[in-house]
């Protein structure tokens, strides 16, 4: 047999059976940016923009009037602000994981979704960044946190996990952006080459950085991509580990636990995959990308969700075990009373919402029928997103609201600003995301082509490739031009 790129012996099947030609890939991806936007796009974009306006208004109100416009209070000094921060940061993780880690592990099915997920990462981190920047009482002095030489005799406190956060998140954002952009260059060049007007050509041409698809370009590109993937990979672990240090290094029980770094990373991947799934399902149907994002992709992602659901479930159980094993009354109280006990704790429902959404509901994926049912996976992905939001809420609020001295206990209630700002971040995310799918190739054209059977040197019938090309492993470069 010909050297098919599909290893049938290992049970692999072709990823994109319905793609019959290389041009088909280019066409179906590029036409999204070239044709007028479909109605569905507008129907999503206009409300998103409205929500973005709400966000801007809320931020204006928050900065003018003060943090007190949120519901935060004395025992619960962090509430929805940091919950949303961690949630959005977690969402971002899928992007890096899919693009970097799966790349290094040569998981070819990632190619259909990586661009998408990376974009999501960037927008999610943008949404996340709003919260730490604005949750401070005097956001105009946020720059005190940067190690800038100044005349005020001030220097940040590097012992503070918040400082680590700043470095972790900003590094993460920078690397993700670079990684995403680097991956985009060949595709931007494709768009440039297909442009029918000068303006379009100029803009895409500018961002394509003079890509010509030459052998040397490909060589540099592949090397850069690999290096960035290698840099990004530890970030998948480090960012959320460091975010978890905000909690893990503190003295508050429910926070003060060593399981947090892996637990947070698993949760982040979990929630990230869920949101990728939600968005992918919508986009796939709006832009009719059934050939490129197949049921097989979706099923694989669902397996990931099932796996990470077990990881977070394990972490939840482990917290209880450690609370029991440590013999620490305060810690036991946090878990048994604050979280579990429906008769005592004001927030018991949030804990149970988290367990049901994150651990119980994903169990449907044990059945293949469920894994491959579009409505089921849509619903489950939404539940997982809700559950993961509750996870952060549970960690932050239920640990704080009843800590050491019962005299200081209190209850947090969100205000309308809390709620509107959270909705507003969806506006920012969705607006950015919709602009992205409208103007930038949302599927990595070049990369998808690389995993097509007829991109393989030994693919028999489709194209008669010359001996020279067969001997040179850089024929992808030629394919890039479509």
């Amino acid at each position: 047999m010909g050297a098919s790129y599909v290893n049938a012996a290992a049970g692999e099947t072709e990823l994109l059976p319905d793609v019959s030609s290389i041009n088909q890939v280019t066409e179906s991806v590029c036409r999204v940016t070239e044709q007028p936007a479909p109605k569905g796009w507008w129907m999503l974009f206009i409300p998103s923009l409205a929500l973005l306006g709400l966000l801007v208004a809320c931020i204006g109100y928050l900065v003018t009037v003060g943090t007190g416009t949120w519901g935060n209070n004395s025992p619960v000094a962090w509430a929805w602000d940091i919950t949303n921060f961690v949630w959005w940061i977690g969402i971002g993780h899928a992007g890096t994981l899919i693009s970097a880690v799966l790349f290094l592990f040569r998981q070819k099915w990632r190619t259909s979704i990586n661009r998408f997920a990376e974009a999501m990462t960037i927008f999610a981190v943008m949404c996340a960044g709003i919260y730490p920047a604005l949750h401070t009482g005097r956001p105009w002095f946020d720059y005190y946190m940067f190690p800038l030489p100044n005349q005020m005799q001030m220097w940040p406190n590097f012992k503070s996990p918040l400082m680590w956060d700043i470095f972790a998140v900003s590094t993460y954002f920078t690397i993700s952006l670079l990684f995403w952009y680097t991956g985009l260059i060949p595709d931007l060049a494709t768009l440039r080459d297909r442009s029918k007007n000068t303006f379009r050509r100029a803009v895409y041409g500018f961002f394509a950085l003079g890509w010509r698809g030459s052998n040397r370009h490909w060589q540099h590109y592949e090397r850069a991509y690999l290096i960035l993937a290698a840099i990004s990979t530890p970030l998948v672990l480090s960012v959320h580990s460091i975010v978890s240090f905000d909690f893990a290094t503190s003295v508050i029980y429910g926070w003060h636990t060593t399981i947090f770094p892996p637990y947070f990373v698993a949760g982040a991947v979990f929630s990230g995959f869920a949101l990728v799934m939600t968005l992918l399902l919508v986009t796939r149907s709006v832009f009719k990308l059934y050939d490129l994002v197949t049921l097989k992709h979706l099923e694989l992602m669902n397996k990931f969700i099932l796996g990470t659901a077990w990881l977070v479930g394990y972490a939840y159980a482990m917290e209880f075990f450690v609370a029991w094993y440590s013999g620490n009354e305060y810690e036991q109280f946090v878990f048994l009373n604050n979280r579990l006990n429906p008769f005592e704790a004001p927030y018991w429902w949030s804990y149970w919402a988290m367990v049901i959404c994150n651990v119980i509901i994903p169990q449907v994926y044990w059945w293949k029928r469920m894994r491959t049912s579009i409505p089921v996976m849509f619903v489950v992905s939404i539940f997982v997103n809700i559950g993961m939001w509750f996870e952060r809420f549970v960690i932050i609020v239920t640990s704080l609201h009843r800590d050491f001295l019962p005299s200081a206990w209190g209850v947090f209630h969100p205000t309308w600003v809390d709620i509107c700002m959270y909705l507003g971040t969806f506006g920012l995310f969705m607006s950015a995301f919709l602009l992205f799918i409208r103007w930038i190739p949302m599927i990595a054209i070049a990369e998808v082509k690389m995993v097509l059977p007829f991109a393989q040197p030994h693919h028999a019938p489709a194209v008669a490739l010359s001996e020279d090309l067969q001997a040179t492993p850089v024929q992808e470069g030629a394919l890039a031009a479509g």
Partner: protein
């Protein structure tokens, strides 16, 4: 907005420098140019034209003008956007006043008097602004400590809603005019009073009525006597909603004269209180607290604290302080008192002259068990005990308790019955309860001096009716706009005590002079001035007081030198006639018998006893609009901004009431709607109604806050009403500063019985075990000072004075009811109150003041990203407000939750209102930063005082001595429970306290190693009353921690 304006408008085009843009323009005549410029100005200056887009404006709005306008607007907007402070100028003294060094505060001694509850104070003034009240250390009734109303007094002074103008409704239209605020307004009011006095003198005073509070001022007494001699027919009435008439009447029965029991409790061994709130709002509470606390501050397990028994219906501070407390109705308390008297007769073998058949309701078993034990305990400590009766009990009970104290040999030792001073001692002055309706109706001209009977007296309605009668004129000298001042034809502002001359005399001869510390902020008259004007005396009030002082001292003691000395010290002792101490036993017997028949006649018809109690926050009516005191949580219910009806747990369950339900409290035809707070420990069958709220109808802080229960009172002498509670179905969100009532079995406010203490002197250390994993960073060595604080939980009464003192000292904002309900209170030191024991109806109480613990290994310091909270070289945990950006991470990571965040611009909104009033700004302590929004703050150990103390010592060229530095909380504490000082100085009080065996560190197991430590509370229980283990558990805070767990901890420690 900035006062800087962009100077863009051409000033005078005619005389201005010759500027031209083109040759044509240059050729234009000056007149034409002026016209052009005028048009330009018109366009610029009349915004209406611009907004309307009038054709004229549009026509002249050239490109240049557009740019001109746009530029100016842009500049103005950007300048305005930069929040610039308005410019203000310091005016240096042309002639420096004597004594005053700019930047250095001065202290003046003066005295406060609220309805006869005298408080001698020292007031700190900065640049002639009183800013902080301290107790007068030279005065034995304060010894430097203060109470709540004294702490709040300085804010009363600056109350922006004080009555500020002499207002009258004589201008017709029925409404009061805006009033005269001018400089001569006070003189006009004085003239009016003088005219009234003169006119009254023609009729010997017939038709003149004067109502005033029962102050102790000898000057006022003399003025009243002088008035009475010239106006013998005038009606003089004293009025106070919270009074001690029953005490005075009771002592009159026992001793023949109206007397005050004055307690010296330092040496007392057994105290039995029947509803007497000795350490709380009872008369001279600070003095009593000082006494009891002294013997409760145990140096070691060898010392024995006094044993305190309390029988009461409401839950008072003394009840919380007690070793045994019995929650029973006031009637049961009387039964118990009679029972005790009977038992004592047998024990002491004396005849107390009890009526043979007690007709009071029989006691239940638990209460019955108390009788012999109390008698035994009292008899065993003869001469060092006290039986105290509260102001709610009838006169005969006070007479009986005097008789019992005599039999126990306590008189002259623990209690002295001294002649009452002031207005309340005057027989010729009527009370609102004794004055007849016809007397009231005979009055044609009323003068209300610092009283608000219409809102706070049971006689209010009939008085209001009398005022409505035609031809009746009335004048009110009033601190606020009150119900009374509104009804009167004239409302004249009353001077605050810090603006006035006056004096106060206590029964033991301690005489204090009041001197003004500041010119009256608004035209006003003081009580002395008002009375003097009526009496036709034109002397300066200072001279009137001075003359009185000289009369009291019985010699014209050489002029100014003594006077100045007296003013500087604030107190002088006047020899008093020592009254005979024997109790008239026959009179007591008669009075008891008469009293019993009265009580037995009362019916109980399934309704509840509503007892009228003092609210510790609203002792002074002048504080009705005082946001510090309004926001202060009630010591037991922890409700701020409100005085809900306190209902016990059993009654609440029976009536189906929960916290915050609004109920209709009905007595006969009268009803008041009020919210309910369920308070464990209020006696079954009793609801407690706190008085003093809802009296500032126009105060921006106090208006609409709290409930005025006065209408439920039958007469001003009645302390109890039979009421029915009906739920209305509506609810009110109570703003509580503490919502969790129990310690959850955690070792927080640690206590033990005396026996346990003797067995294990370091008992708290076994519960709050210090774990140490070793330091993460190199430990700091403190070579100089090492500040620390020790708080003795056995001394602390939980009175909250430290909280207000701290607020006054440190410019702590108030946040308003809504924000308290949200959980955003700002107090740097709070009193945690926990109920202990299993019985919800009769719990014990543990109180614990918690401020910043100044941890050695502070969790807050590590997590601040901007180093805004750091350790000082002297070991305190300091806040650099300028550096703080408000991440609130420190607040999260503080296990004690003592950090306070300015979530909003609290000063800007000032308890929910707009901005800090100018007058309130005068109270700010200039030594402490006023924090803006977005900044974290917390207890600093009063770092400003620490630095000032160090500076003083340096200037005096001497080493800093122990006691040179006292934080506001420690200084105000009447129990001296808080001790601050240098831990590096082994001789310092704090170092000695820190080595007391029962010392522990709060949450020691976390390894934060706090600087503030606590001394565990010792409950001196009567072993006979604590037979079972569960009963013992009811008396100490132990709970969830099992003996096994304790053992594990101990083993782990070994």
């Amino acid at each position: 907005m900035s006062r800087r304006k962009p100077s863009v408008l051409p000033t005078s085009p005619v005389e201005g420098p010759k500027v031209w843009r083109s040759l044509d323009e240059k050729r234009l005549s000056a007149a034409e140019r002026a016209d052009e410029a005028a048009t330009e100005q018109a366009v610029l200056l009349d915004p209406a034209d611009l907004t309307k887009g009038s054709s004229a404006a549009a026509a002249t709005l050239s490109r240049r003008n557009f740019l001109f306008t746009g530029g100016a607007t842009g500049a103005a907007v950007s300048l305005g956007a930069c929040i610039r402070r308005p410019e203000a100028y310091f005016a240096p003294y042309a002639q420096a006043p004597e004594q005053l060094t700019p930047g250095t505060p001065l202290r003046f001694a003066t005295v406060l008097d609220r309805n006869g509850d005298v408080f001698p104070v020292e007031v700190e003034t900065h640049g002639a602004r009183p800013t902080k009240v301290e107790g007068n250390a030279a005065h034995p009734w304060s010894l430097g400590a203060t109470n709540l109303y004294a702490q709040g007094a300085v804010l009363d002074l600056y109350d922006p809603d004080r009555l500020q103008a002499v207002r009258s409704s004589k201008g017709g239209a029925g409404e009061k005019d805006a009033g005269d605020k001018g400089a001569g307004a006070a003189d006009k009011a004085r003239e009016l009073l003088k005219t009234w006095g003169n006119e009254a003198r023609r009729t010997q005073g017939r038709g003149l009525g004067i109502m005033l509070p029962p102050v102790t001022s000898p000057t006022v007494v003399s003025l009243i006597k002088r008035l009475k001699s010239s106006l013998p027919q005038a009606l003089v009435v004293r009025f106070a909603a919270l009074h001690d008439e029953s005490v005075l009447e009771g002592t009159k029965v026992a001793f023949g004269t109206r007397r005050r029991p004055v307690y010296s409790l330092d040496e007392a061994r057994v105290l039995v209180s029947f509803g007497a709130d000795l350490v709380g709002d009872e008369w001279a509470g600070v003095r009593s607290t000082k006494g009891i606390a002294q013997s409760r501050r145990l140096g070691s397990a060898k010392d024995t604290p006094p044993r305190i028994y309390v029988v009461e219906s409401d839950f008072s501070l003394t009840g919380a302080y007690a070793d045994h407390r019995l929650a029973r109705t006031d009637t049961s308390a009387l039964s118990l008192l009679l029972g005790l008297a009977g038992a004592l007769e047998r024990h002491l073998d004396v005849d107390l002259g009890l009526p043979k058949v007690p007709q009071l309701p029989a006691l239940d078993d638990e209460a019955k068990a108390w009788v012999p034990l109390l008698a035994e305990d009292l008899a065993a400590h003869k001469g060092r005990t006290l039986v105290a009766t509260g102001r709610r009990l009838p006169a005969w009970a006070h007479a009986l308790s005097a008789r019992i104290n005599e039999a126990l040999g306590n008189i002259g030792k623990v209690v002295s019955y001294l002649e009452a001073t002031g207005i309340e001692a005057l027989e010729e002055v009527a009370t609102t309860a004794t004055v007849g309706k016809s007397d009231i109706e005979a009055v044609q001209r009323w003068v209300f001096l610092d009283v608000d009977p219409l809102a706070s007296s049971a006689a209010g309605p009939s008085l209001a009716q009398a005022l409505d009668a035609s031809g009746v004129e009335a004048l009110a000298l009033s601190f606020h706009v009150t119900a009374t001042s509104e009804k009167c034809d004239w409302a004249v502002p009353l001077s605050h005590d810090f603006e006035a001359w006056g004096d106060a005399l206590l029964p033991d001869g301690a005489y204090a002079v009041r001197q003004p510390l500041i010119e009256p902020l608004w035209p006003s008259l003081s009580l002395v001035e008002g009375l003097a004007a009526l009496a036709g005396e034109t002397e300066h009030p200072r001279n009137i007081v001075w003359a009185e002082t000289q009369r009291l001292l019985q010699a014209p003691l050489g002029g100014d030198a003594l006077w100045k000395k007296l003013l500087a010290r604030g107190i002088v002792h006047i020899p008093m006639v020592k009254p005979a101490a024997a109790v008239d036993a026959a009179a007591v017997t008669q009075s008891v018998a008469a009293g019993l028949t009265k009580i037995a006649g009362r019916e109980a018809n399934g309704s509840l006893d509503a007892v009228f109690v003092a609210d510790p926050r609203m002792i002074s009516a002048q504080s009705a609009n005082n946001p510090w005191l309004l926001e202060l949580p009630h010591p037991m219910t922890k409700v701020s901004w409100c005085n809900p009806v306190s209902v016990g747990v059993a009654d609440a369950q029976r009536l189906g009431l929960t916290d915050g339900d609004i109920v209709k409290v009905t007595r006969g035809a009268v009803s008041v709607e009020a919210a309910v707070a369920v308070c464990p420990g209020v006696a079954a069958g009793t609801v407690a109604l706190a008085m003093g709220w809802g009296l500032a109808p126009q105060g921006r802080y106090g208006a609409g806050k709290g409930f005025n229960f006065t209408p439920l009172r039958e007469s001003d002498l009645s302390w109890c009403a039979r009421v029915v509670l009906e739920p209305t179905g509506r609810r009110k969100k109570l703003a509580r500063t503490q919502t969790q009532n129990t310690m959850e079995g955690r070792p927080i406010a640690i206590d033990a019985t005396l026996d346990e203490y003797r067995k294990t002197p370091n008992f708290p250390a076994w519960r709050a075990v210090e774990f140490s994993t070793g330091p993460l960073w190199k430990e700091i060595e403190y070579k100089g000072h090492r500040w620390g604080m020790v708080i003795d939980l056995n001394a602390c009464t939980g009175c909250n004075t430290c909280t207000v003192a701290c607020q006054a000292e440190n410019n702590i904002p108030v946040v308003g009811e809504k924000e308290i309900a949200r959980g955003r209170d700002m107090s740097w030191i709070r009193i945690d109150r926990y109920f202990v024991g299993d019985d919800e109806n009769q719990p014990g109480v543990a109180v614990q003041p918690v401020g910043c613990q100044h941890c050695e290994i502070a969790p807050c310091e590590n997590v601040c990203p901007v180093n805004a909270t750091v350790h000082s070289p002297e070991g305190t945990n300091d806040m650099a407000y300028n550096r703080c950006i408000g991440t609130r991470y420190c607040m999260n990571n503080c296990p004690y939750k003592v950090r306070r965040f300015n979530y909003l611009d609290w000063h800007g909104r000032d308890a929910g209102n707009d901005g800090v009033p100018e007058t309130k700004k005068m109270q700010f302590n200039p030594d402490v930063t006023v924090r803006m929004r977005g900044v974290m703050e917390k207890c600093s150990y009063c770092i400003q005082r620490v630095e000032a103390g160090k500076k003083r010592a340096k200037l005096d060229k001497r080493p800093l001595a122990d006691g040179d530095i006292t934080p506001a909380c420690a200084q105000a504490c009447p129990a001296e429970a808080i001790v601050f000082g240098d831990l590096n100085d082994p001789k310092s009080r704090v170092a000695r306290q820190a080595s007391v065996d029962r010392r522990y560190k709060l949450l020691a197991e976390l390894g934060t190693n706090p600087r503030t430590s606590y001394l565990g509370r010792i409950r001196h229980v009567n072993p006979a009353l604590v037979k079972s283990k569960s009963q013992e558990a009811a008396h100490t805070s132990r709970g969830l921690i099992t003996p096994q767990a304790l053992k594990r901890k101990q083993e782990g420690r070994a």
